[in-house]
């Protein structure tokens, strides 16, 4: 008798029959019935109506039957939560069973039943199982914590399971360690800042020991966890690498790739002149090659990863070209990936071999593969200049085959070759023109039209050719239409006499008959240009084009760095950061390589400019933390820290509002007041050219300090810059900056770093309308174009838009409110008193500043230098009360009362603002302190 018969029952009234069988007295019949139920469940039939009957079978000695019932429960408990409770008792009982396998089974299954009421009962058994004497039960319980966390995170925290889980990392059994690590890693992922997996040298040591002893899967969990650790120095990094390298010989590809991930990451910290660094590089190549003899699916994953590794460290596999040659029976996905890597590894030394192979591939059957092979030939031409001629002749041979898609693909790449080597291969244009009629894909048509337009003067019948395209103008895709428009305008500028009619025709087609806004706009622009100033039109349309770069479709460096941290995972297969395909909070943290080498630095040449790009890591310290740190720096920490009094929540709300610009409406008409920032901008450009010539980053800093020093005689404060616009979001442009107030002027200092491949130019800046009417006093002046990996220092900003030749980028940044206090903020005593009384109590708010170990006089002095003026002081019951005033740039007065109690590091501030609601924020005050703290 076999079980396959269970799949075939399709009778009507089946449920009834099953119900009868489930309640049968005979054990065998019962078991048969449960099997039928499971089979129906598998194929997607709804058998939830049998819930009570199946659950009744749970109390049994037969383990096989028990497992089947559990399987049913896991599937349907959610739909019948009330009935599911019936099962709880059995679970609880099973958790006490003398047989460890049954204890584990019970705790494992219970964790899979996602019903709140059951979860409550799970806690006690789970706690016991986590401390069970049997490792099998402990390892199951460890995973169960992760399950419970998925259902009810709060409960796990409240019950203290996380601590127990952390203890399991020191368990004597390697498998328990591995599962605990896996569970903790997953929980930590949904709490990015929790520091749950508190990795320190001791735990790392434990993990490395367990690594040698646990199963292949456990090794993967541990290695993946290790990859998140950042060693303190190169020595630690090296010792971990040494203990991880033996894993490269494991038969399991996942162990190998995870080990590669750890090594790739930790290698960043090793000095390049170290012997060990070279040894490590050599050790990495063979295992990567061996991965290519695994099953095709694994090969595919390996190849996607090798693609990343080759981009980051081309030296590892540069001699291994041959292993990436395509085999006849490789699946198509492996073939395509191999092709990609071949091009990346192509160099002058191996180009002959590569070309011979590519030519072979271009005659294969699979259309995608052939296309990619043809394109690869073109890319070789662009990459290895010496081979360009041979590549072009190979492409011409392929065009002769007249295979439609081969021809089209060849034309697309030839266009790029023309752009890379202008005035060299134009002799082939005639051959290309012969194939004009066979082109039916937009990309190829557009490429051909581009060629015709670009070389119109050398093609006698260019006007006829373009005219023939024009006939079906409205049926073409936008790409072709745009290209056609441009090409005809080019043609007109080159041969104005014969083509006037043609250009008028295309302009009217583009502007009057098309509803595509891009096309229309481009049409109008050309029209205006041609009608007002033909000379200027010529300069614009026929301008010399910049050469295209050698490597195309390289992954952007910051993304590449992140993907290297995700080697082996889906992110590395998709070549996308996890946030692009994972929902919710998981995996949203951006991982980065550790940076002794600096993030933006290219691998081979550590140029001096690289140091300058060493901007703070992606972690943007929140304003609060930063300020807290600075305060501690200044003030000697005392042991007497009083209990922190509760902060009034009302105040925090106010502070939030102010920063988010919600005050716009409150402030109304006052926005017009534009604080003078002119001086800052006036000074900034003066220092800039000099700093560009400065050899290294040190020079830049010095110069900058100088500039700052002049502006601010009382000791320049240089608060650290925060990253405002990460390079990932802005096509390679990274902006970090800070606000300072110097000599009565608000300055925004920005560091722009170019982490992209191409040069950036044409910078401009603009601010959104904001509460205090900040606006740039001068245009953004960046004199030199920003070449890759270069960064510029000084510049002085909220919502900001920065534009360059690539795109417009938007970001927002906070500015400390203390910037906005003006120097003439001292109010007359009488006026103060009167105003204080006049202001309704609603306008008042209170908050506390913690851990400030200054006496009232010192505090008052410090605040004064931030333009917060003390008007009066009085002492009541050992408390000093300071009455203070300040004025904002938009003319609003703010009055405050600061209570300082000797010995209590916490200050209480009550503040009122004139005529408007409760403002002034903690931030302002704290800033006042901090500004002076340094």
């Amino acid at each position: 008798m076999t079980d396959s018969k269970y799949f075939t029952t399709t009778k009507k009234g089946e449920i009834f029959e099953l119900k009868a069988e489930l309640n049968s007295d005979k054990k065998e019949k019962k078991k048969e019935a449960v099997k039928k139920v499971i089979a129906s469940m598998t194929v997607g039939k709804d058998v939830s109506a049998l819930f009570p009957d199946v659950v009744n079978c749970m109390q049994t000695d037969n383990l096989e039957l028990k497992k089947l019932v559990y399987l049913y429960l896991m599937n349907y408990a959610k739909s019948q939560p009330d009935m599911a409770i019936m099962a709880v008792n059995t679970f609880v009982k099973d958790c006490e069973d003398p047989n460890p396998l049954i204890r584990a089974l019970a705790v494992r299954t219970m964790g899979c039943i996602r019903v709140d009421k059951i979860t409550e009962y799970l806690c006690e058994p789970l706690r016991k199982c986590l401390k069970d004497e049997d490792p099998y039960v402990r390892k199951t319980a460890a995973v169960c914590v992760a399950k419970l966390h998925d259902i009810n995170a709060q409960l796990v925290e409240d019950q203290g399971f996380l601590d127990t889980l952390k203890d399991l990392i020191s368990d004597s059994n390697p498998m328990v360690v591995a599962n605990a690590v896996a569970a903790l890693s997953e929980i930590a992922e949904s709490h990015p800042n929790s520091n749950l997996l508190d990795l320190n040298p001791q735990t790392i040591n434990k993990l490395l020991t367990a690594l040698n002893e646990c199963t292949e899967w456990g090794q993967i969990f541990i290695l993946d966890c290790l990859a998140n650790y950042t060693p303190r120095d190169d020595r630690e990094s090296q010792s971990i690498c040494e203990r991880v390298t033996p894993r490269l010989s494991h038969a399991n590809s996942a162990v190998v790739l995870s080990a590669v991930k750890v090594l790739m990451k930790f290698m960043e910290m090793l000095p390049k002149d170290l012997d060990y660094y070279g040894t490590l590089l050599k050790k990495l190549a063979p295992p990567l090659v061996t991965l290519l003899s695994a099953e095709p699916e694994l090969q595919y994953v390996a190849l996607r990863n090798i693609n990343l590794i080759v981009q980051r460290r081309p030296e590892i596999l540069k001699h291994e070209m041959k292993v990436f040659f395509v085999k006849y029976n490789d699946p198509i996905y492996v073939k395509l990936e191999k092709l990609d890597i071949m091009i990346r590894l192509a160099s002058q030394a191996n180009i002959a071999q590569v070309l011979a192979e590519l030519k072979e591939y271009a005659t294969e059957v699979d259309v995608d593969f052939v296309r990619k092979a043809v394109r690869a030939i073109g890319r070789c031409a662009i990459k290895v200049e010496q081979s360009a001629e041979r590549c072009v002749s190979t492409l011409l041979d392929l065009i002769q085959t007249k295979v439609n898609y081969v021809v089209q693909e060849a034309i697309v790449v030839i266009k790029d070759i023309f752009r890379k080597y202008p005035n060299k291969y134009e002799s082939v244009i005639a051959t290309l023109c012969e194939n004009l009629d066979s082109l039916d894909e937009p990309e190829a048509r557009a490429a051909m039209i581009w060629i015709v337009g670009e070389y119109a003067e050398r093609i006698d019948n260019a006007d006829e050719l373009l005219e023939s395209f024009l006939e079906g103008f409205h049926d073409e895709s936008t790409q072709v239409q745009l290209q056609l428009l441009t090409a005809i305008v080019k043609l007109f500028l080159k041969k104005p006499t014969e083509t006037q009619e043609l250009v008028q025709q295309v302009l009217s087609l583009a502007t009057q008959d098309s509803d595509n806004p891009d096309l229309r706009d481009r049409g109008y622009i050309y029209w205006r240009l041609l009608s007002t100033d033909p000379v200027a039109a010529k300069e614009v349309v026929l301008a010399e084009k910049p050469l295209i770069s050698e490597e195309t479709d390289l992954i952007e460096p910051t993304l590449l760095e992140e993907l290297i941290c995700h080697i082996g995972t889906l992110a590395s297969v998709y070549h996308k950061p996890p946030s692009a395909f994972v929902e919710g909070s998981r995996g949203v943290q951006h991982k980065r390589l550790p940076g002794s080498a600096g993030s933006g630095e290219s691998v081979e040449s550590p140029d001096p400019g690289a140091a300058a790009t060493e901007t703070p890591p992606a972690v943007i310290p929140s304003q609060g933390d930063l300020l807290g740190d600075l305060l501690n720096l200044d003030l000697t920490p005392t042991t007497t820290t009083g209990p922190p009094p509760p902060t009034t929540s009302g105040m925090q709300m106010g502070a939030m509002d102010l920063l988010s610009g919600g005050l716009d409406s409150l402030l109304g008409g006052d926005i017009g007041g534009n604080p003078a920032m002119g001086a800052a901008f006036g000074a900034a450009p003066a220092t800039m050219p000099a700093s560009f010539n400065a050899p290294g980053s040190g020079g830049l800093d010095d110069l900058f300090d100088l500039g700052g020093g002049v502006g601010m005689p009382m000791g320049a404060l240089n608060p650290p810059k925060a990253v405002w616009l990460p390079a990932m979001k802005a096509k390679g442009l990274e902006i970090s900056g800070v606000f300072v107030r110097r000599a009565g002027v608000i300055q925004m200092e920005m560091t722009l770093t170019n982490k992209a491949m191409s040069v950036m130019t044409d910078f401009a800046i603009q601010f959104n309308r904001n509460s205090f009417g900040l606006a740039p006093a001068g245009p953004l002046q960046i004199l030199t174009p920003l070449s890759p990996n270069q960064s510029i220092e000084p510049l002085n900003n909220l919502q900001v838009a920065v534009k360059n030749n690539i795109d417009v980028f938007y970001f927002s940044c906070q500015y400390p409110i203390s910037m906005l206090f003006v120097e003439d903020g001292k109010m007359e005593r009488q006026v103060f008193l009167a105003t204080w009384k006049d202001i309704p109590n609603d306008n008042e708010s209170q908050f506390q500043i913690k851990d400030c170990h200054l006496n009232s006089d010192a505090a008052s002095n410090k605040l004064q230098s931030s333009n917060i003026f003390t008007i009066a002081k009085r002492t009541v019951e050992g408390q000093d009360m300071l009455y203070q005033s300040m004025k904002l740039t938009n003319g609003i007065w703010v009055l405050a009362e600061l209570r300082v109690q000797a010995g209590n590091p916490n200050y209480t501030v009550s503040s009122v603002a004139l005529a408007i609601g409760p403002i002034i924020n903690q931030n302002g005050f704290e800033n006042g302190f901090t500004n002076q703290a340094l």
């Binding site: 076999t2 079980d3 396959s4 269970y6 799949f7 598998t42 194929v43 997607g44 383990l63 096989e64 089947l68 399987l71 599937n75 003398p98 047989n99 396998l101 049954i102 494992r108 899979c112 996602r114 490792p135 099998y136 169960c144 399950k147 998925d150 059994n173 498998m175 328990v176 599962n179 896996a182 002893e213 199963t215 899967w217 993946d224 390298t245 894993r247 010989s249 494991h250 038969a251 399991n252 590809s253 996942a254 190998v256 995870s258 063979p286 090659v289 061996t290 003899s293 699916e297 694994l298 595919y300 699946p331 996905y333 889906l570 992110a571 297969v573 996890p578 395909f581 929902e583 995996g587």
Partner: protein, 468 residues
Amino acid sequence: MIGGLFIYNHKGEVLISRVYRDDIGRNAVDAFRVNVIHARQQVRSPVTNIARTSFLHVKRSNIWLAAATKQNVNATMVFEFLYKMCDVMAAYFGKISEENVKNNFVLIYELLDEILDFGYPQNSETGALKTFITQQGIKSQASYLISKNQPNVVYCGTHGFLFVFLWSCFVLQHHTKEEQSQITSQVTGQIGWRREGIKYRRNELFLDVLESVNLLMSPQGQVLSAHVSGRVVMKSYLSGMPECKFGMNDKIVIDKQGKGGGSEDVAKSGKQSIAIDDCTFHQCVRLSKFDTERSISFIPPDGDYELMRYRTTKDIILPFRVIPLVREVGRTRLEVKVVIKSNFKSSLLAQKIEVRIPTPLTTSGVQLICMKGKAKYKASENAIVWKVKRMAGMKESQISAEIELLPTNDKKKWARPPISMNFEVPFAPSGLKVRYLKVFEPKLNYSDHDVIKWVRYIGRSGIYETRC
């Protein structure tokens, strides 16, 4: 981690569906069927993202195994797991076919519950699993009545399966307390692949060195590329928990020993040692020991397993040399002469030799003369296939063919694809030699000498081509 695991037949009907995570719903099962199994196109990637759910799949004959997830999982691990899962199923019930999967669906669910917990792979060594998942697999072929994979089998006789004790389906509760804790400690222990208390009347070891030799040679006899990928496959029937040590003529080891030993020894063994480019090991091998001392020591699993894989590219013994001679006589005739020379000891015999000589698409007729074996022109394959059953070392043999061509006005020349060859030889083309395989069992009293060891070398052709 893995959110759900599904098994489908070739039509896309679900045979097994096990969901581990809440984020994978029933619709995921259908999404994969519609978008991948029923897709018109051939599979373009083993990883598919459908509506933010990633599906990683492998195919065994007609059966699709797919893992679904919504997280950024370790993709390599998932694929390794799917393969492991196939191995485990195969060990329980043989070939993975629709019939076998349906017959064993209860067993598969039980296995899935054990080897994948909340999507985390757990110990999946069959040796260990069989100690507590004791359901017998149901096999479709009647000839497999007796399962060699039964846990309670006593092997006797030379090759294994003469005498078999079967304890009928053994339900867990009947294990004694010691047995239970032994099971759990094995499943979670350092040696998860072997259980304790295995006993054989006769301790035997079978070691196969299986190599595939790959070659691309120019018409002039110049080696363009050559490599050997080899595997060491073992069958061990040993009692207790034996500690094994495997030694081969690895250049690094021999050189190291040479320094300590006599100079004569160096000269002698230096020649015979081979340089291994890279090797990977079964999880039973202590990798850190290999890394530091380059010695291969392990406690073997019981039964069949692959101990290591390796790759070599230097000093490969090429068992055959193919010498092609192609002459175009006019536009309608080709004369082809191919000589094969065997290049190994004359006492050895190569088997299953096959030479495949491609012919142009315009071939109209072929006349063949060969001294040995049989040759045939296969029009459907556009090739002459020449088969020789056996051939001793240091011999040569030749075939000549006259090919008539249809006259065409196609200017394109014939691309002349390479001549390929298949064969099997009784030695290792890499030159690998097993130097020793020592067995120590400290607790039971049998010594290394009592173990009967069998070693076999087989070299096969991989892609073995000569351009003409």
